[in-house]
Amino acid sequence: MPFLLTEEQRDFARTLDALLGAADTATAVRAWAAGEHKPGRALWTRLAETGVFALAVPEEHDGMGPLPLELAVAFVELGRHAVPGPLVETVAAAAFLDRLGDAGAATDWLPRIAAGDAVIGLCADGAPFALDADAADTVLVVGGDTVCRTETHGPVQATLDPARRVSRPLGGTVLARGPAVTAAAGHAVDLARLLTAAQALGLGRALLTGTVDYVRQRTQFGRAIGSFQAVKHRLADVLIGLEFAQPLVHAAALALAGDAPSAGADVAAAKVAAGEACYAAARAALQLHGAVGYTDEPDLSLWIRKARPLRDAWGTPAACRARVLAG
């Protein structure tokens, strides 16, 4: 029972890391924050070429999934590089449509999602807003046992993460109704929660790396501030948080892949741990960059500001902790 990523999975992560590392995602993030989606969509296209979206889509609809563990591996990298857009929502919408049992909707959307040609908003789990509805081809809204689709939304509102813009979905036509909707939505919410946790884990890793680099070169009192224990211990704690969140994310992905009865609780545990670890990383990054960290000039600020909303997205820490104890 080797509980380790395979060489193939690690290669996949490295490929994504290299691709995104060379892609200047910070510029795409700033553009996305200004409502200019083109550079971000270009990133999505490149991600589709590596097969990221196909991981959520079954073979009969031109995908190679569903593969929750590989998706989690990918979303760590998407988080590490702060790729903008409703990535989690689009992939979770794919899982929803795959399980809904509505052949028409699946045929309409799944091949397009796999190819990276569709951006789908998803509003479920009682969330009042849809993420990036203005960038989406359509938004699925799940309420109770009913799912609607809509292409209209209220005013776009800013969040604490400038690249995370939300709006209220408006109107819409009923796509399906009944227990199949509830079941498919339950799974989609778990997948969204898992992939948000994976994103948070990657984001936290990037924040830690960036901060370690900074405190190694920033000099005060004649020495690198990274040599001071107060700084070292804070960063050690950030690493501990991230390292212990990672296996929870992997195990939750395995549970979800196997439809294990514990999957809901496992995913919630992963979300709490990764969300908190990432937020702690952001707080440390802000504090240890000093005044520089509190400006919006360095790219790192884009990463710092993502952490808090990610911690709440698809399940606040309190909701997820309650879910863990519900078993």
Partner: protein, 390 residues
């Protein structure tokens, strides 16, 4: 990547579970930090050993079952889930034995491991000194060459289990005036009832004599009781320290079992509207699960030929802080009963929460303080510059 147990591992777990169900005492033994409890725990070790459950990961020739790391982890989960007694012989099994397997002679293994496995000889550790705690290499106790062996002189302290144990192991300065403090040290074993040894028990926070000071006045140790080469003691000891912090000192089973009991306590007596307390219960459950999975990942890495280095410091900080948080939460759930000492008449769960709480408070201190561990994490894993030293 998976978390599936092999058939052999599942069978191993089932066998352990059945044995424990038939043998674990119905009521907990008295605290092992008392004379009476120490004797009771020694007897339990003998019972474990009789059916080859005391040292499952050792080779069969020394009383073990040649268990793999995964089997050991399964055994530990079953052991603590069954509410089995604390391991009075853990210093020997977890700290000394790995050193003997790596650096000892065949003669030493043949002579020492058997009685260790049965609890006939219980070992104490003798690392720290009054002036050498975190800065262990500052130790001053000496080993002076004599005919056929060494004479130990000096003082050791905070020596766990030494109040009632039979023998001890530790580091001694055998070459004075070396260029660096961790050179010229020798790893030796000695009987606690040898001429020249004075044991002064020290009460831990709750007064129980969990450790002791050792005064050594020309205590003779034969050459046969040196582990590794004289002068190489630091290197020999560090392999033990790595084991201690790494996988074997605090197995995840302790924490998953404690988290399960905490969850049961919360369901029984928790106020459902007290979400702050609920969140802490959830965090204990999440932390225990995280530690279990992290350990499985490490065990997988080791099984694939990897090693644990500075990564073991991550473990040490994590489990020690989890342990305190978990027991703190339990005491809060117990309300007015949370303050009762473990041996109080009305102590809930036979005092196990109070005992666990007191025990947990030492976790961030022993086996390398968490401050030292965080330095190691920052310097060796994150690559931050070393601090200026005096």
């Amino acid at each position: 990547m998976d978390l599936e147990a092999s058939d052999a591992d599942a069978a191993f777990r089932a066998e352990a579970r059945a044995w424990l169900a038939a043998h674990v005492p119905a009521t907990p033994l008295p605290s092992l930090e008392t004379r009476e409890g120490f004797a009771a725990h020694r007897a339990w070790e003998r019972q474990l050993a009789a059916d080859h459950w005391s040292v499952v990961s050792w080779p069969a020739e020394f009383g073990g079952r040649d268990a793999t790391l995964f089997q050991w982890l399964a055994f530990e989960e079953e052991y603590y889930a069954a509410g089995a007694p604390g391991r009075v012989s853990q210093n020997g099994i977890n700290l000394l034995a790995p050193t003997l397997f790596e650096h000892g002679t065949a003669e030493q293994r043949a002579r020492i491991l058997g009685p260790m496995a049965t609890g006939e000889v219980i070992w104490a550790q003798a690392w720290s000194e009054p002036e050498a705690g975190s800065d262990l290499a500052a130790l001053r106790s000496t080993a002076v060459r004599t005919d056929g062996g060494w004479l130990l002189r000096g003082q050791k302290t905070w020596s766990s289990r030494a109040a009632f144990a039979d023998r001890a192991f530790g580091l001694f300065r055998s070459e004075p005036g070396t260029a660096r403090p961790h050179q010229g040290l020798t790893y030796l074993m000695f009987p606690l009832d040898a001429p020249g040894v004075t044991v002064r028990p020290i009460g831990r926070l709750d007064g129980k004599p969990a450790f002791a000071e050792l005064f050594l006045d020309d205590v003779f140790v034969p050459d046969a009781d040196v582990i590794g080469e004289p002068g190489q003691g630091w290197r020999v000891a560090m392999s033990t320290a790595g084991n201690e912090r790494g996988l074997t000192l605090r197995s995840p089973g302790r924490f998953t079992a404690a988290a399960d009991r905490l969850t049961a306590l919360w369901r029984e007596s928790g106020d459902p509207t007290d979400t702050a307390l609920r969140d802490r219960v959830a965090d204990a459950v999440i932390g225990a699960r995280a530690y279990q999975l992290f350990t499985h990942a490490n065990a997988s890495r080791i099984a694939a030929g990897g090693t644990l280095g500075a990564e073991s410091s991550l473990n040490k900080v994590f489990w020690s802080e989890l342990d305190i948080a978990l027991h703190d939460t339990a005491l809060d759930l117990l309300g007015p009963y949370g303050m009762l000492a473990d041996d109080a008449d009305d102590a809930p769960a036979h005092g196990s929460w109070a005992e666990g709480y007191t025990f947990s408070l030492a976790g961030p201190i022993y086996a390398g303080t968490n401050e030292i561990q965080r330095n190691i994490i920052a310097e060796r894993l994150l690559g931050l510059p070393k601090e200026a030293r005096a």
